[in-house]
Symmetry: C2
Subunit: 280 residues, 2 copies
């Protein structure tokens, strides 16, 4: 493998790496890793010389406060020996009011802006957390995080795991109905979640529909609270898989059309941008 | 052990049994059990004769629809052989609009009413689920379940487990502030949960205070949605430990004083009541 550097996105539940030659991808991996086995995880890419690993995510500290550019000056640096790894971590961003932080999404915003020059508006980054990021003139102005995705995962893998909803496709009609219901009465979210459970048991509700009701309740409550971020704004959703398309659908139902951007592509583009700044 | 019968409360996360002589408790146990090892779990209490086990909880079917008395006619019966166990399960209750079910709380309501004759009002049963039950003239009129407790457990044992909030005491001042905030803007619940996480990381918020913010956000959103159940009603909270006292405090802050009833006592009283009906 003749890479110059290794790009890493270190998420809480997912770790990915790309072996890079300049801005070209030579190899890619996604498998569970821990900070203790970082060298082992990357071992077949490592040379006996210096190895530059440039990472974003929950590895390092939180840096600048918004408003600021997505990429802060001053990467967090740590050198690991034999094989020698220069680990450089892109700092996360903080906000003081309301208190908030991101670690990884700053790099995705950077990547999105690299692919969409002079873009102003709101980027909704979908995943374990949902993050609404207001961007103007190349700077992150403000943002707001929601634990929606993590709550959904906790429900379908925990308390409601008996219903086996983790791997089914969401029924889109039921989702639209649950969403509109949730936006009208967002405070009823915890009751709606129990109702979906009751409907599975008492009415034999289909898994696809139960999943739709849970996601509709959670995303509907979020959209009600995030209204200042999406109302009358130019919008983009960054994510992958079904969850991202559900956000696009949900926003469209509210008369707020959003462009969909692929999360992997945007992440890698952000890491390339950081690499250019570091080496250029 | 010279018991006549065995009382069982079969909860989703907790199973308890009492060896009973008439209405006197001779022995008690609480430890994890599964339906497969029911006989093993109770083995040192079982006689070579017939053994009557009377249970409430998530073992059996859902029976009557409200409005109805807490205890339905017709226990669900299953006989298990050698040692012979006659298992009799108190059916849960259902509601058609909004769709809802309870399995176990009908027995607690029965027990509460046995201890408080001619009581009319709303009973708030606190646990993994919170259930608001409107009682009039000895009947359950309507009810509403919320997944609040299960969501809190999923958060502190899962996504936010790094903050070690499971075993700390809740800061009451911070709880009152978070509650009032949540009741004013209940739709922001998923954002508030992330804010508590951010405050732990960025501000070094104390665990007692972070726990208070999470519980305040969740219980506040619930109280906002359950308002028709507690506004201007005679109120009782059934539960144990800190969670029950937080509900009493929260209701009191809203000018809605609630009596606190011990959950174990009420459960056992309900099982005794079912036993009297079965044998009397």
């Amino acid at each position: 493998m003749s890479q110059d550097w290794i790009a890493v996105d270190w998420g809480r539940s997912r770790q990915r790496a790309w072996a890079m030659r300049g801005t070209d991808v030579r190899d890619h991996r996604q498998q569970h890793a821990t900070t203790e086995n970082l060298a082992g995880w990357l071992s077949d890419w490592l040379t006996s010389d210096q190895n530059l690993v440039l990472a974003c995510g929950v590895l390092g500290p939180v840096g600048n406060a918004v408003p600021c550019k997505p990429l802060s000056e001053g990467l967090w640096s740590i050198d690991i020996g034999a094989p020698r790894i220069e680990l450089r971590v892109i700092p996360g961003l903080r906000q003081s009011a309301p208190l908030d932080l991101m670690q990884g999404d700053e790099t995705r915003v950077e990547g999105f802006l690299a692919l969409n020059k002079n873009w102003d508006g709101v980027i909704c980054l979908v995943g374990e957390e949902t993050r609404w990021v207001h961007v103007s003139a190349g700077e992150i102005v403000s943002f707001q995080s929601f634990l929606t995705g993590a709550m959904f995962d906790a429900l379908v893998n925990g308390r409601l795991s008996v219903h086996r909803l983790a791997d089914v496709q969401t029924d889109r009609t039921a989702f639209a109905a649950a969403l509109s219901d949730a936006m009208a009465k967002p405070e009823r979210v915890m009751a709606r979640l129990h109702e979906a459970h009751a409907a599975r048991i008492l009415d034999g509700l289909e898994p696809a529909e139960a999943r739709a009701r849970l996601l509709g309740a959670l995303i509907g409550a979020e959209l009600a609270a995030a209204r200042p971020f999406w109302l009358g704004q130019q919008l983009a959703v960054v994510g992958d898989g079904e969850l991202a398309t559900l956000y696009v659908d949900a926003l469209s139902e509210q008369g707020a059309p959003a462009a969909l951007a692929d999360e992997s592509r945007v992440t890698l583009e952000g890491l390339k941008s950081a690499w250019r700044q570091l080496t250029g």
